[in-house]
Every structure is written in structure tokens, then in C-alpha cells.
């Protein structure tokens, strides 16, 4: 690895070192997965599909630890009204879909992409997600942007997000511009349910309401989905979980979209606050709790593959998922820049490095998993672990600096990422804030342990008092391997009666005003 640039020098991730007990890839025996020792991707995935998704942070959970996305807000117009959206609202401190600080022309978008790609080598994907619908108003700005971009930066993946109403009209154009990732927001497959989510749609030169609107939207969504998947375009389906309206129904949505070839299903919690001025916000419709969301996601396992790492980012978000560097790239700053050359040498080096690291990781994870399966057996229930990380799938963030915690479920079957929890920054300018610590505790209340690079004495005591074990002995090591090592030790302590199982706890999903900025 001597000639490979270190991840640190590109990312500033802190100390980079291999996990202490990582076997050399060739020595990994007893490996259960066919992907062992290679970067071929999961055993259940077509290699051609893996090639498309492996560097896409939204389509691959693994990739989201390494690669960054950028949304360009060139599509402000929309063709439907959703009860969870208020298009009059715009706030720089708000992190949720449909919100932007600046709308861009396609030309401005290209300049912004050039500026960002020069500074962020992890950038692999350019998406258009609104702030309205990318295909409303004829999709004019969306396709103009992609047409220019395809010529200027052919190595960047293109993707777009839509409510699906206009989708069937644009599938040929989507294929023409090599947009091989499309997200459709599908909240229902039954118009009876849909009429409570969509007050109106604009279709065929007419505003439709009620059941008629939901019926048309549903038919267009299903048609668009089928047209895309029959052309081999990967489709992710986003669904907003609205308790009491479509929560149980989303299991039917999962089956329906799987049957039509959707690659991934992303069930997201409703973001609802009276201050947003949305219909649901004003009527007091609540969002789900963390456990309600996880239970629904778990019930959908076995159907369309679930995405659990979505950060519900803004239509102008820039950076790794969970961070937003959009404010570093304002129109004023970009307009003031001289002509920017498209140079992706750093990005190429970074991608090579990630490829090599992934191959090693697949082997070390499999070895750790085999060890747990052998020593623990299957009698111990899985536990949840909260992790403070700033990328690279390492435990490399201080407890007090964490803007979110990634949640891993670890048990006899292995360790997997199951979600994330946003939190206020506990540590502001060196001194801890009591209320903020309570926010963190309620956000990770269903976890047995929290893995951190470092944690102060006071929050450490509070965590222990709340029954959550603070763990800093895996600082800067890989998350999954550390989680498995911890689980092995936990199972032993459980057997000795030295620790109690933490079952039946729930946690709060934080959705208030907050933008994760790079520390």
C-alpha cells in the first residue's frame, strides 16, 4: 500500500490504522460470504448492478461511508401538492427535502458542480431532487443540466428524483442521458390511502383532487416504475411513513414495488412541525418514533431491499450523507471564481484507495462474524449500538462533536447498519450543554452501547446512569468489526449475569431545525 495515498491526507479523518486483529485477506478462512476477499459486492447482487451502485452513497449503504453526493436545485416547479410539503417555506437552518437556499439555472449548476468536484474528491453523484419535481415543467432545466454535465464530467453518476406523475412521458429522455438511478416517491398503492396524502395534482391540463387525483398519480407511478425497470434503470422508491395514514400500508407498497422491479425501498419518517406550515404540521399529524420506523422496516425485510441510511437531505445538499457543505458553495462565491478546470486526479486516487480498503474489509468482517457465530452461538438476542463517526466506516468522532449517531444492530448473524439519529451538538465551544445531552440520550435510548473516539467524564457518567455503555476502546477502528468484538464480550458478560439485556426501549427521531455542517 506504499504508493497509495492515505485516506487521511484526502479526508482528514484522523489517525488511519488497520484494526488490530485484522487477518490478511488471503488468510481469512471459514469465510461465509462469497464476496470474501474481493470487492465483488454482496452475494445476492448481480455484478453489473453492483458496478452501478458501489460508489453511489444513496444506493449502497457501504458506499455512503466513502462517497459524497451533490444535489443541484434547478427544478423549483412542482406538479402535485403533498400534505407534508410547503413550498412557500425556505430556511437555511432546515434540513429536509424540498428546502433550498438558492435556486440555480442549469449554467450556474454546472459551475457549482465544477467547483465542488475540485474540492471534494469523494464526490461521485450529481442528483436533481427539486426543490419541486425534477420532471415538472417538462423537465427542461433538469435535462439541460444533465446534457451539459454529461459532456463536461462523464465520470459523475447522474440521478434524479420525482413524484412519478410526469415520469412515463420522460423515460426515453432519461435513458438517453444515461441517468441510471431514478428515485420515485411512492407513499401508497391504494387511492383510498392516497387521498389523505395528496390534496391535488396537475395532470393533462387540469387540477384533479381527492380520489381521482390519487388514482391518476398511482397509475402513473406504477407505469413509470415498470418502464424504467424494463430498461434496466435502477429505481429506488422513497416512502414517507405517516402514522395512522399509511404506516401499515407501506408493507403493501414494498411488495408492489418489488414486484415491478424496484431495486431499493427507502422508508423515511414524516417530518412534521407546525412551524413548517405544512398541512400535516398544522393538523398535528405526528411522525413515527425510532422503534416504530425500525419495526416497519424489519417487517418489510425479505421484500424489496430496504435503504436505512437516508438522511432526508435538502435539494441543494453537498457532501457525504450526514454532512452538508452547501453553504461553502454559494452562487456569489461561485460567480466570483475564475474558470474551473475539471480535474479529477484526486478523485481517481481516492477511488483506488477505497477499492483496496473495501477488499480488505470484506475479509476482516467475515472473519469477525465467523468468530462470533462460533463462540456465541444463536441464543443471544441482537443489540443496538450507536456510533460516533465522520466517515470511512470508522469510530472516529468525539461523543460531544457528533451531529448524528449511526445505529448498528449486532448479533449472532453479524453486524449491520440499521439507521441513524440526528442530535444537537452536545459540545459547543468546549463546554457541554445539559439539555443537549438529554437530546442525545433520548435519541439513542434504545442502544446498549455508544462507540466513540473519545468521551468526557461527565457525559460518560450520565450515559452509564441511563444504561448506555460508553465505549472508547475501539477508537479509530472499523465499526462492524468492533461491534462484533464488543458483542462477543457482551454475550459473555450476559452469561455471567454481569450485564442486563436492554429490551423494549424506544428513541426519539429528531426533526427540528438543524443543518449538519462539517466540524
Amino acid at each position: 500500500m506504499g504508493n497509495v495515498i492515505s485516506l487521511d491526507s484526502i479526508l482528514g479523518l484522523g489517525e488511519l490504522k488497520a484494526p488490530a486483529d485484522t487477518p490478511a485477506p488471503a488468510a481469512a478462512s471459514g469465510c461465509a460470504s462469497s464476496s470474501c476477499g474481493s470487492s465483488d459486492g454482496p452475494a445476492d447482487m448481480d455484478p453489473a448492478v453492483w458496478e452501478k451502485v458501489k460508489n453511489h452513497p444513496c444506493y449502497s449503504e457501504e458506499a455512503h461511508h466513502y462517497f459524497a453526493r451533490m444535489h443541484v436545485a434547478v427544478a423549483p416547479a412542482c406538479n402535485i401538492q403533498c400534505n407534508y410539503c410547503n413550498r412557500k417555506y425556505d430556511c437555511s437552518n432546515e434540513s429536509r427535502p424540498g428546502v433550498v437556499s438558492e435556486k440555480l439555472t442549469p449554467e450556474q449548476a454546472i459551475r457549482k458542480i465544477m467547483a465542488v468536484s475540485a474540492e471534494i474528491p469523494q464526490l461521485s453523484v450529481i442528483g436533481i431532487a427539486g426543490p419541486g419535481d425534477s420532471l415538472a415543467a417538462g423537465g427542461k432545466n433538469t435535462f439541460k443540466t444533465f446534457e451539459m454535465l454529461q459532456k463536461k464530467a462523464p465520470d459523475l453518476k447522474l440521478c434524479l428524483s420525482t413524484n412519478g406523475l410526469a415520469l412515463p412521458d420522460h423515460v426515453d429522455t432519461i435513458a438517453q442521458y444515461n441517468i441510471d438511478h431514478v428515485t420515485i416517491t411512492i407513499n401508497m398503492v391504494d387511492p383510498e390511502v392516497g387521498q389523505h396524502i395528496y390534496p391535488w395534482i396537475f395532470h393533462d391540463h387540469k387540477r384533479w383532487t381527492g380520489l381521482d387525483a390519487a388514482k391518476i398519480l398511482h397509475e402513473r407511478q406504477m407505469l413509470g416504475l415498470e418502464m424504467l425497470t424494463s430498461r434496466g434503470i435502477l429505481v429506488k422508491v422513497n416512502s414517507v411513513m405517516i402514522p395512522g395514514i399509511n404506516d401499515e400500508h407501506l408493507m403493501d407498497v414494498n411488495k408492489a414495488v418489488k414486484a415491478r422491479g424496484a431495486f431499493l425501498h427507502n422508508i423515511m419518517p414524516l417530518i412534521s412541525d407546525p412551524a413548517h406550515g405544512t398541512h400535516f404540521g398544522l393538523t398535528g399529524q405526528r411522525g413515527p418514533t425510532a422503534q416504530e420506523l425500525k419495526v416497519l422496516q424489519d417487517q418489510c425485510e425479505g421484500g424489496a431491499k430496504l435503504m436505512r441510511h437516508c438522511r432526508q437531505c435538502r435539494a441543494d445538499a453537498v457532501g457525504l450523507l450526514g454532512e452538508d457543505r452547501g453553504s461553502e458553495f454559494t452562487i456569489d462565491r461561485i460567480d466570483a471564481m475564475e474558470e474551473i478546470d475539471y480535474d479529477r486526479e484526486a478523485a481517481r486516487t481516492y477511488r483506488e484507495h477505497v477499492e483496496a480498503e473495501r477488499a480488505e474489509r470484506h475479509a476482516s468482517k467475515a472473519a469477525a462474524q465467523a468468530d462470533v457465530a462460533e463462540t456465541v452461538g444463536t441464543a443471544v438476542d441482537p443489540i443496538l449500538i450507536a456510533v460516533a463517526t465522520k466517515g470511512g466506516e470508522r469510530i472516529n468522532e468525539h461523543f460531544g462533536h457528533a451531529k448524528e449517531f449511526q445505529i448498528y444492530e449486532v448479533g449472532p448473524k453479524g453486524a449491520k447498519f440499521v439507521g441513524h439519529r440526528r442530535v444537537d451538538q452536545y459540545c459547543e465551544g468546549g463546554s457541554g450543554d445539559e439539555d443537549a445531552l438529554d437530546t442525545v440520550l433520548s435519541a439513542i435510548n434504545d442502544c446498549t452501547a455508544v462507540f466513540v473516539a473519545k468521551v468526557g467524564g461527565c457525559p460518560s457518567k450520565k450515559l452509564q446512569a441511563a444504561g448506555i455503555e460508553p465505549v472508547d476502546r475501539f477508537a479509530f477502528e472499523y465499526i462492524e468489526e468492533s461491534a462484533l468484538t464488543y458483542f462477543k464480550d457482551y454475550a459473555e458478560r450476559l452469561g455471567q449475569g454481569a450485564v442486563n439485556a436492554r429490551a423494549g426501549q424506544d428513541a426519539v427521531i429528531r426533526t427540528g431545525a438543524f443543518t449538519a455542517k462539517r466540524a
Binding site: P76, C78, R87, K88, A137, K140, H205, K206
Partner: protein, 63 residues
């Protein structure tokens, strides 16, 4: 007869401009406006004025 855009409620999303069958809507000095000379209120063209039907802020109204 023509429609107008209430500037105070407009989010400048441009949905109306794309739907207008008469190209009567344009973006000038930071705001969308309807040219009363070319606006027909979509009479004889569609069942309702297209700008008002698509507007998310309901700000396209009779002048």
C-alpha cells in the same frame, strides 16, 4: 380579461410559465408577471386557466 400574479405570495417556481399556452408569463426583475395583452384566461383553450391550476401558492388570480 386577464390574470395576474400576486407577487407577495409567489415562490418564483416557474410552474405557471411552463404551462401557459400563450407564452404570456415571463420572469422579469426577479419576479414572474403575466402580460395582460396576451393572456386569454385560457378561454377556448382549456377548461381552466392553466397558471392558476398549477400554482402551488394559489397566487394566479383574475386581474
Amino acid at each position: 380579461m386577464a390574470y395576474k400574479i400576486k407577487a407577495s405570495d409567489c415562490t418564483a417556481c416557474g410552474a405557471c410559465e411552463a404551462e401557459c399556452p400563450n407564452n404570456a408569463i415571463s420572469f422579469k426583475k426577479g419576479a414572474y408577471a403575466i402580460d395582460p395583452a396576451t393572456c386569454t384566461e385560457c378561454k377556448g383553450q382549456f377548461s381552466s386557466p392553466q397558471c392558476a391550476s398549477v400554482c402551488p401558492a394559489d397566487c394566479c388570480v383574475p386581474a
